[in-house]
Subunit: 221 residues, 2 copies
DNA sequence: TAGATTGTTAATCGATTAACAATC
DNA sequence: TAGATTGTTAATCGATTAACAATC
């Protein structure tokens, strides 16, 4: 069933599509837990409140996971999407910035379930150095470069103030780190072969604020 | 200068535009700090790596903040965008779920600078009840309903497991909370007059993972 | 006034939706 | 086979970019 083996060579997939994949995965996980083995794009569209057309288009970017007249096999589809997202591989990550947010992310066990392993944590504050998150102790940023060179670090998570974030990003790039999960409130300038995924919490809160207020304004009419 | 006073009555602004406003605000803040008083869409486009055309289109959704032949006044533009985002008003928020992430958000002082005030925190775990984040002590969720009714809560932040998040959202909606900042890994079903802004961290990490892996695949060619 | 740069309309591009032939 | 539902092409919609007249 299906033929979407090789992801290589195909044309580039838009980020809009990629952004939807984790959500599909979530719904497929629910279906698995409900013991449902097959699902049509129509049924899935009802659950997810998106069009069946979009669902089929999205999946067909990767070569067709369904069967005419039958629909999609839930387990198979789940596994294929997992593979597309790279969740079949393991990824090691470090966290730079041992403040509350860094510690929260370091302590979040669910990442491990998806193959993301927490290798180390760094901070510039001597008071934080030596403290522990799970079984990882906080090291001083001076040790960062050395650590990255000696260990297989795939992803660096930045949970520190904006100025330090820019500096640390440069160091990480120079050590060969290929992906940065950036929580700092700043845009990082890195070579184009380095992946940056931004989580700007205050941007998100401002968007919420806009929608809350514009809604209230509309109500006054 | 400008004429974008009334946001009322005008046609709806797309979320794509709204999502870009906080980023403009960030760059304008930088410009202010550099002591720059005016900027053209061209200069700003160079800094932000977006087209000047998009910048002008975005701003003109709200009625024109610039002056032909001059450009935009940095301070004025900053203030107008702040107003559009509702940052001139104060918003009170509570956090439900006093785990690491909830505590991190409660302890984040920068929100206050933008007018978001941390009013209360709730958890179901008796061990957490009574502990403090800044000067806010954690209450038991049993007190949630009462607290919301007695206080002016604009935004509820959900940092708890998915099942509880769905339940708590229902309670909050029934108490009249109009906005939810949802960090739980689940889609909430709320009436359409309630604003939900999702921050799905694992979705973001999966997107990073995809880009990291597809990049590596491309490199192998 | 001449030069600069906006505001705005028109053109292009990409993403979403609709339709239907292919096929299980 | 008949019915269902995909895969895929074509149509539509919306968002981005280009162009230029308006005007400071």
């Amino acid at each position: 069933m299906g033929k979407g083996e090789s992801l290589v060579e195909e044309k580039e997939i838009s980020q809009a599509v990629i952004s939807r994949l984790p959500r599909y995965l979530r719904y497929l996980d629910d279906l698995k837990n409900e013991g449902i083995e097959r699902i049509s794009s129509k049924e899935l569209s009802n659950r997810m409140h998106v069009t069946a057309s979009q669902i089929r288009q999205d999946f067909n970017n990767f070569g067709g996971f369904g069967q005419q007249g039958y629909g999609y096999n839930v387990n198979y589809l789940y596994n294929e999407i997992s593979k597309i997202l790279g969740l079949n591989k393991t990824h090691n990550f470090i966290i730079v910035g041992a403040g509350n947010l860094g510690r929260a992310l370091g302590g979040y066990l669910n990442f491990e379930r998806r193959g993301f392993y927490f290798l180390g944590m760094f901070d510039i504050n001597p008071e934080r150095v030596g403290t522990k998150i799970r079984d990882v102790s906080v090291m001083h940023v001076d040790e960062l470069q050395d650590f990255v060179k000696k260990n297989n670090v795939d992803i660096a998570v930045l949970t520190l103030p904006k100025n330090s974030a820019v500096e640390v990003a440069d160091v990480l790039v120079s050590c060969g780190v290929k992906a940065i999960w950036n929580f700092a409130h700043v845009d990082l300038n890195v070579p184009e072969d380095v992946i940056v995924e931004n989580v700007h919490l205050s941007d998100s809160l401002m968007k919420l604020s806009y929608n809350l207020n514009c809604h209230e304004i509309l109500k006054e009419d």
